[in-house]
């Protein structure tokens, strides 16, 4: 059995120089999250509920949700929030129903499912700005 993975509490440094470094940090974060999955399943007793591959898919889906971002600073902030969430989960600061509701069952938190409006109608995009367009 490989040595159990311990999540070192390194915060994400807020200074990615360019997109490549931000990308590398995303993959590092993803790997750290995937390697903590056995611990998570152990803590919250998810062995019968979900398979590790489904949790990996949930994590990658969340990352993919923000895949269109190109600003390294924004990526850093998203990574910081992701790291915060992961640390909370691993520290057992959440409860089982949180994990199941947010990552196992389809919907997730309601405020997360609204994707930023991409390619919706121009009418709706300008609706708040003015009446005349």
């Amino acid at each position: 059995m490989a040595a159990p993975f311990t999540l070192r509490k390194i915060g994400v440094q807020p200074n990615s120089a360019n997109l490549t470094e931000a990308r590398r940090r995303v993959f590092d974060f993803f790997r750290a999250a995937c390697r903590s999955i056995p611990t998570i399943m152990d803590i919250y007793n998810l062995q019968d509920v979900v398979a590790p591959s489904q949790l990996r898919f949930a994590i990658s889906a969340q990352i993919r949700n923000n895949a269109h971002v190109t600003d390294p600073k924004v990526i850093d902030l998203l990574l910081f929030k992701g790291m915060e969430e992961l640390t909370d989960i691993v520290d057992h600061a959440k409860q089982r129903h949180h994990i199941i509701g947010q990552y196992v069952v389809g919907e997730g938190l309601v405020q997360n499912t609204g994707s930023k409006d991409q390619g919706k109608s121009d009418f709706l995009k300008n609706f708040y700005t003015s009446n005349y367009f």
């Binding site: 993803f30 995937c34 591959s53 898919f57 990658s60 993919r64």
Partner: protein
């Protein structure tokens, strides 16, 4: 002797998955030897270092990860990008392999993986180092 010839010809007829990974120079150099009386069975002239079971298991994980249908061909030389995987998918496949084989891959080596074969070879290296 006759049975060997028959076996080798039947191997030629059936498309083996390893044939695509065979580099041409292997068979070419063999045919230059004057004392070779029969063609070498293709099974032995594979040039990649990974065992077939490892490659098969890797293919399994890849298929499940990318949700490929049963009919799609995944051979040793297939690049992940050809199967429609982006870079995050590649990392996810590597994590799936880590879980399936119960190993830990180093980051820089894992970043360099592009084909099924490289993944299988890396896995075998790590397994050998662990044993």
């Amino acid at each position: 002797m006759a049975s060997m010839a028959a076996a080798s010809t039947s191997l030629q007829a059936r498309p083996r998955q390893m044939v695509t990974a065979v580099k041409c120079f292997c068979q070419g150099s063999r045919s230059n030897l004057s004392f070779t009386l029969r063609p070498l069975p293709t099974r032995l002239s594979v040039s990649c270092a990974a065992k077939p079971e490892t490659v098969d298991k890797v293919c399994e994980v890849v298929k499940k990860q990318l949700s490929l249908k049963e009919g799609d061909q995944v051979t040793a030389a297939t690049k992940f990008a050809e199967l429609g995987a982006d870079s995050l998918d590649t990392v996810e496949i590597v994590m799936g392999l880590e879980e399936a084989f119960d190993i830990e891959m180093e980051e820089d080596k894992a970043q360099a993986i592009e084909t099924v074969e490289e993944a299988a070879e890396l896995i075998e290296e790590i397994l050998k180092a662990k044993a």
